[in-house]
């Protein structure tokens, strides 16, 4: 297993930090009234790489760090990605020269505001977690028909709403929509009563493509990963989704983590997808292990509570399909992929009740509310609830983290305003 790399920035060497030198995740930050800058997290700091490029300390051949978004770097391709990472390692490793100059570009993490790290081109959400698909299918169609017939052949996905992707920390207004219970004659319009989370990972396309690409090429084209919470209104979804899939149920917001963790940082944590129950068509075959071992948790803290309750513990290695398989499938009909395309993994549940990545599954459709550490119970989200996702790949003596991926549920807009 790869060891922790030593940095002259002392807090990066703490075994508890999510941001050791091995990580170097990419984000966008501002501090006070300053403009947004690109940065990388290291220990308790963010390094202002926009400034270092202006100073000539980082040189990628052309200015790629000046637009307050990582898209220009993403578009530049794997050679530039490797060059930038190596430059940062050289600058930040224990014993590197010019520490004083670099230190001037370190800003304490607790003094910055983090923004969306990249401009999302398009957002696609998948449904590639077998436990999740089985749980949801069992609730809706019974255990014998839980998995749709295509599920073991296709990494099923649908196009999400790009304009609704928001940075961690953005308040989430409870959506309203058409609601119709099984015993109602007609729908009514009102606030969702079954507003939910979905614990997911996101993959970001760096290198664009046209036409069908192989799984190996797809893996090469991915720039990095984020945590992703796909907020979902289950009652809106139940009434609207036939025959063309979820629409407004998924259009309120999707929150992503502030830090993009690169493929290079996660390389030591690669692991294989599970054995195939049905043989896949050749275009989906994996040339190497394409999942990652990333421990994931979800916590919920009611408004005014003094503590959060962990409501899910799972791992990204539970997925049946990898991002590379999903991306290859995404291109199969000739669909062009662009720099900044965001792919959601699908909800990541594990085999046990404690591993379920949505409240729909945790409360089994509302029939089995969970009790929080505060004594309150939850079937679905209540106004004021703060939800956080956490993810970390765990090395022998270091962690690779994504930073917080949080959002608070705010009351629905009163009916007088619409």
């Amino acid at each position: 297993m790869t060891k922790r790399m030593a940095s002259w920035v002392a807090s990066a060497n703490n075994t508890e930090t999510e941001f050791p030198l091995n990580n170097l995740p990419y984000g966008v930050f501002s501090s006070g009234d300053s403009d947004k800058c690109c940065g990388t997290a290291l220990g308790d700091f963010v390094l202002n790489v926009t400034q270092l490029e202006l100073d000539g300390v980082i040189d990628l051949g052309e200015p790629l760090l000046q637009s307050a978004a990582w898209n220009p770097v993403m578009a530049a391709g794997p050679t530039v990605w490797a060059k930038l990472r190596q430059s940062l390692i050289d600058l930040l490793s224990e014993g590197s020269a010019d520490q004083a100059h670099i230190a001037a570009a370190l800003v304490p993490l607790d003094q910055v505001t983090l923004h969306l790290p990249f401009t999302v081109a398009e957002y696609t959400d998948f449904y590639a977690g077998r436990h999740h698909a089985t749980n949801v299918g069992t609730m809706f169609r019974g255990p014998d028909n839980a998995l749709p017939p295509n599920w073991l052949h296709i990494p099923i996905g649908y196009n999400g709403r790009t304009s609704s992707v928001v940075a961690s920390g953005t308040d989430i207004i409870r959506p309203s929509g058409q609601l119709k219970g099984p015993h109602d004659d007609v729908p009514r319009f009102g606030p969702s009563q079954r507003f939910d989370i979905e614990l997911e990972m996101g993959a970001i396309v760096g290198t664009p493509s046209t036409g069908l690409i192989s799984v190996a090429q797809a893996d090469d084209n991915i720039f990095g990963y984020v945590l992703l919470n796909d907020w979902s209104a289950r009652d809106i979804q139940a009434w609207e989704y036939q025959p063309l899939g979820p629409f407004q149920a998924k259009a309120t917001a999707t929150t992503i983590s502030p830090w993009i963790v690169t493929k290079e940082a996660l390389e030591p944590f690669r692991t294989s997808t599970p054995p195939r129950e049905k043989e896949l068509l050749p275009y989906l075959n994996e040339p190497k292990p394409l999942l990652y071992d990333i421990a994931l948790t979800v916590w919920l803290q009611p408004e005014g509570a003094d503590r959060a309750t962990t409501i899910c513990r799972t791992n990204y290695n539970e997925m049946y399909y990898s991002f590379a398989q999903q991306l290859a499938h995404h291109t199969s009909a000739g669909c062009p992929m662009r720099t900044g395309d965001l792919l959601g993994s699908g909800t990541i549940s594990g085999p046990e009740k404690a591993n379920r990545g949505s409240l729909l599954e945790i409360s089994w459709g509302g029939k089995e509310p969970i009790t929080l550490d505060t004594g309150e119970t939850r079937s679905f989200l209540q106004d004021g609830d703060l939800i956080g996702l956490h993810g970390a790949a765990l090395g022998a003596d270091y962690k690779i983290g994504f930073g917080p991926c949080v959002g608070r549920v705010m009351a629905a807009i009163p009916s007088g305003y619409w």
Copy 2:
């Protein structure tokens, strides 16, 4: 009924032109090796409005016509839209001054290449044609269950793939994908055998919004309209679409017309949606007539054939939901809308067999192939087929047209290349 407006550009006064002074549709063109410019079509010409803004002849307060896309004008809002239209009418009306200067900015339409007229922010496709939904539902579920239970309450839509929206004239490569017939044990991967068209209109959002907007506001926010062909692989769709809707079946291409026809130009052709079979929820109520009377046709010309066959004649006034209702519904869960969002109406079929807007319906799922004027038959598209959509609002002595919306089907990429 509004009368034809007279222009000093003689060809604009021809009763057969699609581009009288009443129209003034917006597009992006290039001529020879010149850069792309914004233009408006008039008779047999395109007027270079990018040049006229540079020359100071058109003044919108700030430069809005210099980016080879109409998005800056779209974002500027209705006051600027009205100002630009009035400026063009003043410059081009019979008897206006400075004709020589303006005439220098007229380029013959047959000497230009037309491009995508705007940068598409996101593409959403609806399913709001009752005849189409009934036809497709009857084929798949029988006549008693043709319309899904939500259909008379919700303008059903799904998110499409923005990167696949292309300009008229772009070749369309037949998609490949997972195919599984009803009697196959497992899917195979290969070229779609049921590749189809969908005759639609598209609406373009000019003014952005956040949160739920009213139908009246939605209508105000729309900048204009295009013709839209939503190429669809029926066999890929049949196997993939449960439970999350169409994905790769709709990801190959969506072709739009080169000219955006403005709301102002279509104002005289407003007409009402049909009587509601079920009362709509108040957020979908229409304050005024919101459909348009636009005659639509589809033609198909096989490769090498000397003539095209009209395979569909219908009208946009056949829709059950208007674009304003669709856009209002799109915002209902708080979904932000942006300048450049493109909404597809859904396939526009009419009540008779001759009015069907897709080959799926025309050939009734392949069971009733049609015979073309050349003697050939078609159930679905064949390689080399050239497909065109045509649309025109018909005044007493003038027409408002969209220009050609065409694409040719090219052979699938051979399997050795993937």
